[in-house]
Amino acid sequence: MYSQGLQDAKGGPEPEGLLKAFQKRIDNEEKIEPRDWMPEAYRKTLIRQMSQHAHSEIVGQLPEGNWITRAPTLKRKMILLAKVQDEAGHGLYIYSATETLGITREEMTRQLLSGEAKYSSIFNYPTPSWADMGAIGWLVDGAAIMNQVPLCRASYGPYARSMIRICKEESFHQRQGYDIMTTLARGSNAQKKMAQDALNRFWWPALMMFGPSDKDSKHSVQSMQWKIKRFSNDDLRQKFVDVTVPQAEHLGLTIPDEDLKWNEERGHYDFGEIDWDEFINVIKGNGPCNKERLRARQKAHDEGEWVRKAAEVYQQNQRDAA
């Protein structure tokens, strides 16, 4: 099946020959590089997906940044700082990769701050307890890894390459989170309760990170054909549940889902229905922290204004002196 009915940048039909050749390259597992011909819809889909991804890395620093000054030990503080710095790096790798598709960094920033662009719904949940740093590393970075590993083979070269770098760094994130959970789960009753409470609050939002159920996912088919996506949302979600449940059991923690049960026949865990209303609500901007997150981003952007200005003036002076 070829991508019939796709429109080019000016709204005309894409040339059939080029479309066929393009799909053939993808079917052969060839990578598409920035200056290669690509259908306009492929470019747009990538810009949307990659910029959302970059925004998620950047906004994702906020719930954890919340705890840097209050980490329980110097060791934990250094680790958390390093983790949050990695996320800033991830944002930068993907922003750079997205720019190769012809959108500017300024435009992406504008879309984020205006609320036009989305980022992962998970970062709109609050982090009131230290145990949340554990739950985030373990579950949120864990879910991110599930999503990102297949993206290392995405058809767009710059995206795939940035994912390879990112995946190398993510396993540290997940392990340090699980390490926090382990310490708490083996600690005092109060600590154990903290760990369980964080798991209770982050479990379902972590499952939502895989996106809508396959039957409601509108972008999937085309993205699969273009190899921007390799597995369906539900498949990845199932995989995540399957690997995570034993990890929780190992810690003596309980997954907050009464319907969770090993299904011998399927060889997978069955689990309860996700509250999709909550998911849609958070995506629409009505989650517990959406406004706070954007406000924090806007504030950081405004407060960095003089730095960007100074750099520009400096650049101008250098040019004048030359």
Partner: protein, 90 residues
């Protein structure tokens, strides 16, 4: 801010390799940012930063006429020359 392409030598003895790009006001700032963005885990012993505008690239649409002439010159490869069994490796 200008766009810089970043090249890193993973260890001495290896070539510098393109790893990505970033924005900076000048080369010094690009180097500093490249250190922070691309070498947080000892990924390199040397960094080159090149202003993207200074790179001249071949045209991907011309790839065929540009690279094809090499395809039919198989006599450039050692395997083009069969050797008698007695000498076998050369």
């Amino acid at each position: 801010m200008k766009l810089y392409e970043i090249f890193i030598r993973p260890k001495s003895g290896l070539n510098h390799r393109h790893v990505g790009s970033l924005h900076a006001a000048d080369a010094r700032m690009a180097l500093q940012n490249a250190r922070d963005v691309y070498t947080r885990r000892e990924e390199g012993v040397s960094i080159w930063v090149v202003e993207a505008a200074h790179i001249t690239a071949s045209n991907p649409e011309q790839s065929e006429p540009w690279f094809d002439p090499a395809a039919d010159k198989i006599y450039r490869h050692p395997t083009f020359y069969p050797l008698d069994k007695e000498v076998d490796n050369m």
